[in-house]
Amino acid sequence: MKYSLVLTVNEENVEFQINPNRTLLEVIRNDLGLTGTKEGCGTGECGACTVLLDGEPVNACLTLALQAHGKRVTTIEGLSKGGTVHPLQEAFITYGAIQCGFCTPGMILSAKALLDRKPKPKEMEIREALIGNLCRCTGYQKIVEAITSYVKDH
């Protein structure tokens, strides 16, 4: 039996008829074709699937799509709507915070959520905000430096 799912994704209203056993991650990647949100583990450990749900970072792989019904979803594609790159993304690019880039969308969204809550975080607060986002390429250092630089410049 299919259920009606209504979401606002990157400020656009979308509607689907879906089976309830679909996760928000599946709907984002398969039904909406937004593949910026990645699957790294499927069990909420790596954070590659991080999206903002009503502004808060969550693991889309563990969120039933129907439980997001009526909510606002922001994916990485939503940060650069209309083609303008978000300054936080610019900071990641400039400061070498991206290597393979698989963790990057989730990492940027977690960072954005932190900065929306707390515009001038200290380094330890930045690191704590990112513990749900694993990175294997960078050792996190340039990611932290990119965010710190962004904070200083804005």
């Binding site: 089976n19 909420g44 954070g47 749900l53 693991n59 513990i131 749900g132």
Partner: protein, 291 residues
């Protein structure tokens, strides 16, 4: 990708609706709140419920309200709310600390206090601090409500006294007695997101002169089939002056009281040793907070 089994999904908007569904579906149904434990278990094929009842649209379960006894927290209050609440940081500090230590921000933005307790892991992050605060849980069903001490809620790894027609409705925490100081310590395999190898919560209520422990509450996680109070250790300290020697003895007593197992994360031997170390450290930290 690991897929969830097919299930029927229901999203009641009131408690009476929830109770009706529980009566109808019984053990065929699972209640889902944040899903951060449940969905993982389903993906790992440990459970495959036919029916999922979503609790997140039930307003009665989302409230935080002061009451005569202290404060009531609805079962689906998110861990992120507890972590960031200035009320809890001020008046029930170790609860806010415990919430802060759960998983990652992503997990805390979905995970709920009720879900953490009902999942009933021996390592349940919220249990030790709630135990030392002598919290009570209200279990509710169509037949009515019953309030029991949290201590009596857990019966084994993943097991609670909840009947198939009941839900955990709210958690009631008494006002913290005056001159009380607490500490919560959690040991993991790394500092970033981890499950507890051992965890310790301590709440010491000192006398007026802050010299003796009028009341001691110590709870241990991950070292028994359920989160437990270290009652023998508590007795050792009550009414006494907590000097270095007594604290050491108390730590050794806690080591003897716990019954950890060896599993993929750690050994029983290491866990026992760590209980000793962390009970001592938690007591010292609580006392330091009192100075």
């Amino acid at each position: 990708m690991m897929h969830l089994n097919k299930f029927e999904y229901l999203s009641p908007s009131s408690l009476p609706e929830v109770f009706e569904l529980l009566e109808r579906y019984g053990t065929r149904a699972k209640l889902v709140a944040g899903g951060t434990d449940l969905i993982v278990q389903m993906k790992e094929k440990r459970i495959a419920p036919e029916v999922m009842i979503n609790l997140l649209e039930v307003p009665e379960l989302q409230r935080i309200e002061r009451c005569d006894a202290g404060i009531r927290i609805g079962a689906t209050v998110k861990l992120s709310a507890l972590e960031s609440s200035s009320t809890f940081q001020r008046e029930w500090k170790i609860l806010a600390s415990a919430a802060h230590g759960v998983g990652s921000p992503q997990v805390r933005n979905r995970g709920t206090i009720g879900g953490n307790l009902c999942n009933a892991s021996p390592a349940a992050d919220m249990a030790p601090s709630l135990l030392v605060m002598e919290a009570a849980v209200t279990l509710a069903g169509r037949k009515g409500e019953r309030e029991i001490p949290l201590e009596s809620f857990f019966t084994g790894p993943g097991l609670t006294v909840l009947r198939s027609d009941e839900i955990l409705k709210e958690i009631t925490i008494p006002t913290t007695p005056q001159h009380s100081f607490g500490a919560y310590l959690k040991l993991g395999r790394r500092k970033s997101m981890d499950l507890a190898l051992v965890s310790v919560a301590v709440l010491l209520t000192l006398n007026r002169n802050k010299e003796t422990c009028e009341r001691t509450r110590i709870a241990l996680g991950s070292v028994a089939p359920t989160p437990v109070r270290a009652s023998e250790t508590e007795k050792m300290l009550e009414g006494k002056r907590p000097d270095e020697k007594l604290i050491q003895e108390a730590a050794q007593c806690a080591e003897k009281e716990c019954r950890p197992i060896s599993d993929i994360r750690s050994t029983a031997t290491y866990r026992k040793e760590m209980i000793k170390v962390h009970v001592r450290r938690a007591i010292l930290q609580a006392l330091a907070a009192g100075r």
